[in-house]
């Protein structure tokens, strides 16, 4: 009996499978017919060339922001948090909003590196380095706010359970203390993960510096590359460490924002005390983190000429994640609203009606449209692949997610159980300057990263290219279909191609 198999159906052009106009073939992750050497060049050159004027311009802008941050912090520490707009019922204002906003943004990096790594999503390789760096800087920005919110910042070490003569102990039952542990562990593991991933690339940069005769540069990169030689043993250890760190970082991605959500959810404030908070905060964090990655990558890939590495396909995949997480977050809003009605607790019902129709309705509907409504545009493939649309939506997502935290924090607090305490909360200039300043810190660090560190994981990107397949150059020996052979012929012959024919030959340009 003749049966059709997938080989006969899809392999040969003109088979049943290829009848439609659409194709099941996926575009290669790296485009532009690049060789391994091209990738090294493309990424390394930005750390090696003379600093462009544009970078200085951007950097001076970021430094201005950093200066504003310094000013705002100095004024704050001198006068105390009274300079903020906090009032009697609203004891948590922009500081906690900004903290949660930045921690949320700091989720994309480790999600991309750890969870997508465990799910074998090869497309992550082009964006993981930048996303992880962004994560670290976002966590740094986040930590600013609670640190200075304590008022007497010089006593911040009291947060840690250090033995002391006064027998004073932090309050272990407080989720704010859990935050100290959760965020610091997350920051540490993210830093380690980022650094471990960097080692092979730092080795590459070092080798190129040696070759170019730049001794100091070679020394510095030599120090940080920990004697990387690119040997088999090096790679084995590296990959084992990377896998272990990915496994350890995965629960952290979920735990950090769950703990942040506990800050609100354990208290019995209407609108805060709801059980869906942990997973819904995690989804929101991924949502905002990916939006920030899209915002940054859309610009960076253009400026740094990386459009072949960070392709429209990469951006489209991120936009799908934005659509999914935005919808999850939106459904969580609706669930909260429904359960507030279903639960028939009058305080909860009031809190939610007040959110949507009270004095802060403008913030609520900003949040709703930015987080639930606008991302729905990504159902349309054309919009998912349009740079202006995705840039606009990534910005509105960032705005919407900031407003989500604002809505949660302020709307629940400004209507206390005691109507005599009710008040309207408004930030002061110092709230605003501190927030603007945190962007200064973020972009200062990010620009330094772009300037001095390979911004794409060179070794990992090479690993997902067709050339990395051990059988890639062996198709002449009877394996592979004619179509596959034709595909191989399309690829540029690079240094590895020659060494494949000459087993004694060594690749000359880099160690990775």
């Amino acid at each position: 009996m003749a049966t059709v198999t997938s080989r006969t159906a899809y392999a040969a052009p003109g088979g049943n499978g290829n009848a439609g106009a659409k194709s099941l073939e996926e575009a290669p992750l790296v485009q532009g017919n690049l060789s391994f050497h091209d990738i090294t060049e493309l990424v390394s050159e930005h750390t090696e060339k003379k600093t462009p004027l544009g970078w200085f311009l951007a950097f001076s802008l970021a430094l201005t922001g950093l200066g504003i941050l310094g000013l705002a912090i100095a004024y704050l520490v001198w006068n105390g948090p009274g300079v903020w707009g906090l009032n009697n019922p609203v004891g948590w204002g922009w500081a906690i909003v900004n903290f949660v906003f930045w921690v949320g943004i700091g989720h994309a990096g480790t999600l991309i590196s750890a969870i997508l790594f465990l799910f074998r999503q090869k497309w992550r390789t082009s964006i993981n380095r930048t996303a992880e760096a962004m994560t670290l800087f976002a966590v740094a920005c986040a930590l600013l706010f609670p640190t200075f919110h304590v008022g007497r910042v010089w006593l911040i070490y009291w947060m840690l359970p250090l033995p002391n003569q006064m027998a004073m102990w932090p309050q272990f039952k407080s989720p704010l203390l859990w935050d100290v542990f959760a965020v610091s562990i997350y920051g540490t593991v993210s830093l380690l993960f980022w650094y471990v991933g960097l080692i092979p690339d730092l080795g590459t940069i070092r080798d190129r510096a040696v070759k170019a005769g730049r001794t100091l540069r070679a020394r510095i990169f030599g120090f940080f590359s920990l004697g990387w030689t690119g040997s088999n043993r090096n790679w084995r250890h590296y990959e084992r460490a990377y896998l272990l760190l990915a496994g350890l970082a995965t629960p952290l991605v979920l735990s950090v924002h769950s703990v942040v959500s506990f800050d609100f959810a354990i208290s019995i404030v209407p609108g805060w005390h709801t059980t869906i908070f942990p997973p819904y905060f995690v989804a929101g964090a991924i949502f905002s983190g990916f939006a920030m990655v899209v915002t940054l990558m859309v610009v960076a890939r253009k400026v740094y000429n990386l459009e072949n590495l960070v392709t429209i396909d990469h951006l489209e995949k991120m936009n799908i994640i934005i659509l999914v997480t935005g919808t999850i977050v939106g459904f969580a809003y609706i669930t909260e609203f429904f359960i507030a009605w279903y639960g028939q607790v009058q305080y909860e019902q009031y809190a939610f009606t007040n959110r949507a129709f009270g004095p802060y309705a403008w913030a609520y509907w900003t949040m709703m449209s930015c987080n639930l409504l606008f991302p729905q545009l990504f159902w349309v493939k054309k919009f998912r692949r349009s740079i202006p649309v995705m840039f606009a939506i990534s910005i509105t997502t960032n705005i919407g997610m900031w407003f989500e935290r604002f809505v949660i924090t302020v709307t629940s607090l400004h209507r206390d159980y005691l109507p005599s305490s009710w008040d309207y909360y408004q930030p002061t200039m110092w709230d605003v300057l501190l927030f603007v300043g945190s962007f200064g810190l973020f972009f200062t660090l990010f620009l330094l990263f772009l300037r001095f560190v390979p911004m794409v994981a060179i070794a990992e990107v090479k690993g997902v290219m067709p050339q990395a397949d051990p059988h890639f150059y062996h198709h002449g020996d009877g394996h592979g279909t004619p179509a596959e052979l034709a595909e191989v012929a399309d690829y540029q012959q690079d240094a590895y191609a020659q060494t494949a024919q000459d087993p004694q030959g060594t690749p000359s340009d880099d160690a990775s």
């Binding site: 997938s6 159906a9 049943n16 499978g17 439609g20 354990i266 059980t275 908070f277 997973p279 909260e336």
Partner: protein, 482 residues
Amino acid sequence: MSALTRLFFDPVDSDRQRAASRYQFTGDRRLWLVPVALGAAFLALGLALGFGDLQRFFYAYLVGWAFAVSISIGALFFVMIQHITKARWSVTLRRIPEMLAANLPLLGVLGIPVLIGYHDLYHWSHADLYEPGAGFDYILAGKASYFFAPFEAGAFPFFWVARYVVFFVLWSVIARKLYTLSVGNDTEPSAENTFKLRKVSAWGIPVSAVAVSFFSYDMLMSLEPHWFSTMWGVYYFAGGWLGALCLVTFLALLLKRNGMLQHEVSTEHLQDMGKFMFAFVVFWTYIAFSQYMLYWYGNLPEETLWFHKRAFEGYGTVGQALVWFHFVLPFLILLPRFSKRFYPILGVMAGWLLVMHWIDLWWVAMPSIIPAGDHYGAAEAHALLAPAMEGAQTVLTNMQQAPILSDGVPEIASPESALPEAALFDTLKAHLVPAKFHLVDILCGLGFLFLLPGLTLLRASRHALTPYNDPYFDDSLRFENV
């Protein structure tokens, strides 16, 4: 084949004549006959024994049925997620969850006893709660429209039944599309099928997600009509998804053991299923813990009531057992690579977690109305524990009478304020006598535990066991964990 069979059992006629024979069911027919027969027999026996106490029977049936539905929905999500992510690794075993999800129309029919028994099951259905007087419940009256609209409170719960119908129609339509397109692709392969499958999955995921949330509120959360939790939909889904992973793994192992799917489903695929099981054991725990911890910490009576019933009063033993046996034990066993690649351990853990999922739902549903100590043997247990309790009573009384601080508040320490003996005895009794599984519970649970895989295997025997003409089939065959 009749239209009814097509609608409720298998929308595609058997294609054994046309599909590639090497991928077909070659096992003994007892493989499906025995579980189907056993499942039906257990359910019939459960009904027969449950006639004396119909409320118990309806509760037992609800638990078993909700267990089967959750797993089928989990399988439905599994298939949709594979399509939407263009997953390649899972193609060879994708037919099993497709066959599982195809049970949804039938489960819609099998839920009719729950609809019939709604008056015994759901406290909110009692009309006297909505009539002015001593029994009036203003909380339930406030949300009555969620169950009774457009009728008045206490009448026929039209909205509740309508949602039931809508949810099952939606799931059935999605499951049917996923099933027919995939099975159809075996004999008439076309890339179009793959695109259509992706499209169905794209809208199917959000639609099913909303449906499963409200379904879980309707069927399980409303058993305690005063209680509410925004996490509830996620909790039910997390358990069902884990159950689906376990049943798919179990069926794959069963088929392999009987000489099928030898080369198609390899240790590599099963290891990945094991990883998923491990990950979602943790996810279920994360959701369960978050829900519990937040209510425990908030300590509001309207929220803690639900957990109070389940943490004390006899059901606490089951609650604690869930922590150890639904989380700690599977976590430790599934952690090493070895156990995920060793079929006997993987198979046992899949079965184990399925039973745990059933116990989880039992623990959710049963305490709603049925008190723990209300079973045969409770009186004996009380008598046995009485001496111990008297000892505890003495200690507690002494403690209450002893001065706590040297110059503390003296009136606390007066002997009159000690707990009355009978009250203390009752409290301790309620805490110490564990809840028991009733025979009817077990029969209904086993009924669905057998019926679900049995029907799935029967369906599987009519088509190829793996979507061998899927464009990614070869990629899936080559899949390796590196």
